[in-house]
């Protein structure tokens, strides 16, 4: 099947390219109107240049094919876990960390094999395995912390991100994944912009001081509208093309996307670090950029799977 067989794939790809093309012009207009401080301008350009690299890295595997897509999300899952393990210090428990990595690899293999039975069996199997492997060190001190971190890492970066990758087994995966990625990332941009322009009340000042109710609600409305508008073409001919489903999915995406951001912020505050890594200039680590994807995967996957089935 050709990469651009679905008209929505063409439309969303062009939309992404156009967004990247006009963004610097928007910055310059804002600059001329005196709405940007030098620091904000520098920050925005740093993020923009990162997007110039990140967007092709995200989009090209999806256009190339199913296995490319699964491999790309598999790598994201492994690198996200790596950042988590190094930030918490969990990586020093070599055997347990290796068991988590094995769990992530099994999930990737189950997705690549389109074996949903194995994919859904792995969480219970690996939770059991991690609980048992943690005993091998024969160090009761810190046992609960080790096990909790292992299961947390496996669940978030394996199971949750794995649900996004599982979409690749659907015949309609290209437009669906492109739509999800576009909306998740724009959800962040909308929250940032709405927060800058009319955010007053802090959303969670101890967890993420920069986030405001204005930003969150603005992003919620705009992302839901965008998802519903673009989703109409992506889900055309299915039950999910109905406005009620499109609005529900858009709202779910925006809500879970912002929660993912808050969860990683909470983790960073607890650890006392600013960024999860330094992989992406202007964004910090991979987890700082892709945190919003974490819960969008399970939420949308099970919604779509319940009503029309994914890959059936």
């Amino acid at each position: 099947m050709s990469a651009f067989a679905h008209p929505a794939t063409v439309g969303i790809t062009i939309f992404m390219a156009a967004l990247l093309a006009i963004t610097p012009m928007v910055f310059e207009v804002l600059q001329r109107r005196g709405r940007l401080t030098p620091v904000l301008r520098q920050e925005l350009y740093a993020r923009y240049f990162s997007w110039l690299v990140l967007v092709p890295i995200m989009v090209v595997p999806i256009l190339l094919g199913r296995l490319w897509t699964i491999s790309a999300f598999g790598l994201l899952s492994l690198f996200a876990y790596r950042e988590f393990a190094r930030a918490t210090g969990f990586f020093r428990h070599r055997l347990l960390s290796a068991a988590v990595v094995l769990g992530l690899l099994c999930l990737i293999a189950a997705i690549a094999d389109h074996w949903y039975g194995f994919f859904s069996a792995l969480p219970s199997l690996f939770v059991s395995l991690l609980v048992i492997v943690a005993v091998v060190e024969d160090q009761p001190k810190g046992y609960l912390q080790r096990v909790a971190l292992a299961i947390f890492g496996f669940a978030l970066f394996g199971v949750c991100l794995g649900h996004i990758a599982y979409f690749a087994n659907d015949a309609n995966y290209r437009p669906m994944l492109l739509l999800i990625l576009l909306c998740v990332e724009l959800n962040d941009v909308f929250a940032f912009c709405c927060g800058k322009f009319f955010g007053r009340r802090k959303l969670a000042p101890h967890t993420s001081p920069g986030k405001t109710w204005g930003g969150a609600l603005g992003a919620f409305v705009l992302t839901t509208a965008l998802f519903a508008a673009l989703g109409h073409s992506v889900f055309a001919g299915t039950l999910l093309a109905a406005p009620i489903h499109l609005v529900t999915m858009g709202a779910l995406l925006s809500f879970t996307g912002q929660l993912g951001d808050l969860v990683i912020s909470s983790m960073k505050r607890d650890l006392g670090i600013k960024d999860m890594g330094a992989t992406i200039p202007g964004h910090g680590g991979l987890l700082d950029r892709f945190d919003s994807l974490l819960f969008v995967g399970p939420a949308l996957f099970h919604y779509v799977n319940y009503f029309v089935g994914v890959g059936s």
Binding site: R86, A87, T88, R94, V101, G272, D275
Partner: protein, 239 residues
Amino acid sequence: MSEWEYKPAGDAGLRPADQWRSLQREGGLPTAIAHGAWCALTGGYLKMFHRFRIEGRERLPPKPPFVVVANHSSHLDALALAVGLPPRFRSHAFPIAAGDTFFETKATAAFAAIFLNALPMWRKKCGSHAMETLRERLIGGDTIYLLFPEGTRSRDGAMADFRAGIGMLVAGTNVPVVPAHLDGCFAAMPPQARLPRPSPISLRFGVPKIFSGASNDRAGWREVAAALEKDVHALGDAA
């Protein structure tokens, strides 16, 4: 309920190129696999082409931290010293390598960090800050340093005087220092050679010493260096 304690990786938050050159670098699973594979490869090579023999492994301390110091006359020295340690110590062992040789470019720094597990020592711009970082890491963790206190490879095979740097790391601490003598590396691959010759190499570990009584100043550092130099000489003479 007591609070959980987190200790992020010493090099967390640094970009890869800075991580490779960081004295606080801590390898994860991928580097442990790469380093293990490299040790298996070089171990096989040393056994096959140089009939590599190891003596006195039983004298090594039961667990890190400790320092191994040896004579230096060839690029094969660091390989032999790393392979000479029991496998359980390998991921803890950091050869201290010349920054201007092994860490100058990104490619060599990546190789030295990932495969050799080396830490850089910049010979021309090594400040006391770097030595202090290495000393703190040694005292506070489960680290093993593999060190050549002569500072450079001998050009004629004869051992040069030990520099005081080793003293800066261990004077006044309870960290054991293991003297070791490498024999045959100069004949197999002297500094002037581009490729090694298949001649025998052996490594002998001596009795560990602790310098808790040495003062952490110039006199103490020199005292540590002189004592270890004498021990390494004695191991060489006994071979």
